[in-house]
Amino acid sequence: MILDVKNLKVSFPLRGKVIEAVRGISFGVEEGEAVGIVGESGSGKSVAVQRLLGLVEGKVEGEAWFEGENLLQMREEEWRSVRGVKIGMVFQDPLTSLNPTMKLGAQVMEGLVFHGLAKRHEGKQQALEWLRLVRLPDPETRFDQYPHQLSGGMRQRALIAIALACHPHLLIADESTTALDTVTQAQILTLLKDLQKQLQMTLLVITHDFGVVAEICTRILVFQEGKLVEEGPIDQILYAPKHPYTQMLLSCVPKVPNVGPVLSEAQNPERQIAANAGPVT
């Protein structure tokens, strides 16, 4: 088991009251697995995962074992050897998650250089390699461009390249496709799925979108109000949900009536694009 979370609780003191964002969650992630965390806004899914990387403050209880280390008891210096190197994270909004004042290449290289994994020159080669791997068109040109010169989809690809640059064993995608249009979303999902296979890494996907988890995950955790209410293989959750909250969430997914072959093609733009290998946005 690569990640083993036991009874995780995260709370925030607020004007004398205590807001319990995560109320005792236990789950495990096997190596090479793709796990989805699903829940509505405010269900604690993001807080729980960001706390694992020490990105949110707040009082924490429980244990989170990752490759023999308890993530919840790390100090600042210890964090730095985990973040980026062992656990990578792809954020939600590609428009705001890149530093507008740094060239793209420099941002991909940054982690490699400050973790001492590459010298400047090798760093550039490796960064270009990653940009190619995330299928960013024309990486040599993009390397010297600034984020605002790229489209949303390209920036999301760049963010993935940044998160992967130091070969993390676990990649966390926090609502990574939410801000994109559906076509780009499908492309990014395909990319994540392919990369996971290619690099044999473990993937943890946080989303409120069942379409996303259905696409890439093998197992699903359902969060409600800071608790884990249901857990199981993808087919079981999607087709035979036990918990009423999961049933309710699934009933909110709009169903497109299947009126013919044209529509069913259109329902799955990702397959189409993968087949055509059309232009990348």
């Binding site: 600042e76 730095r80 190197v85 998650s97 740094m102």
Partner: protein, 281 residues
Amino acid sequence: MDESYWEDAWLRLKQNKGAMIALGVLLWLVMMAIVGPLVSPYAYSDIHLESANQPPGAKFWFGTDDLGRDLFCRVFWGARISLFVGVVAAMIDMALGVLWGSVAAFSGGRMEGAMMRFADILYSVPQLLVAIFLTVIRGSGMGTILLSMTITGWINMARIVRGQVLQIRQSDFVYAAKSMGASRGRLLFRHLIPNVMGPIIATMTLTVPVAIFTEAFLSFIGLGVQIPAASWGNLINDGLPAMNFYPWRLIFPSLMITLTMLSFNVLGNALRDVLDPRLRR
């Protein structure tokens, strides 16, 4: 930093006629400060008692003072001192203020409170008091002027930088860099400060005239640059009693101060507008 950001700012600055005139005046002043004393046939401290209080003319372009010293030479010799003091003081203010403000905002909590309250306390000390105090201890001179101006001068910059950093501290790209394992210093110098360079430069441009005026004021009341050395402040002080009979002794140095103050303020305001990230796009 972002090339197109600066290109864009420059393009918009060029459309501002006032700012361009101000820039021209300042460039002219800097050039004259360098060249002026060299092209004048007299030295700034040469005394020609036989031609005291000469009006402006072919021999003495700006006239002479009561000891027959050439005012053209003295005014531009004074420009060297005034501009030097102004720019150096502004740069010291910037360095101290940016460091203090960004560290305070980035640390947050008690550290931030302590740092900003310390700045508040220092801000409440009248600058004139500091100047007199330091002149008594160290004697008058360039070092004393710079010290007494910068001891409290950096606080404005610190406050502005703190405010700006607080605004972007929670940005996604800062979290993203943190999730890659960037150290605090790196976050500060690569991710936060470059993104607040616009307001920093605008504030600095507005600090220069304040520093020039303070130097002139200190020299005017006799705490600054001492005769025979010239600065705009002591030239005005020197010319004031003779205002009714030899007005050129007052008019030329006053004109230079006015031009400088006006130009820096016009330019600073224009820069603040074109560099404001909220007004971009």
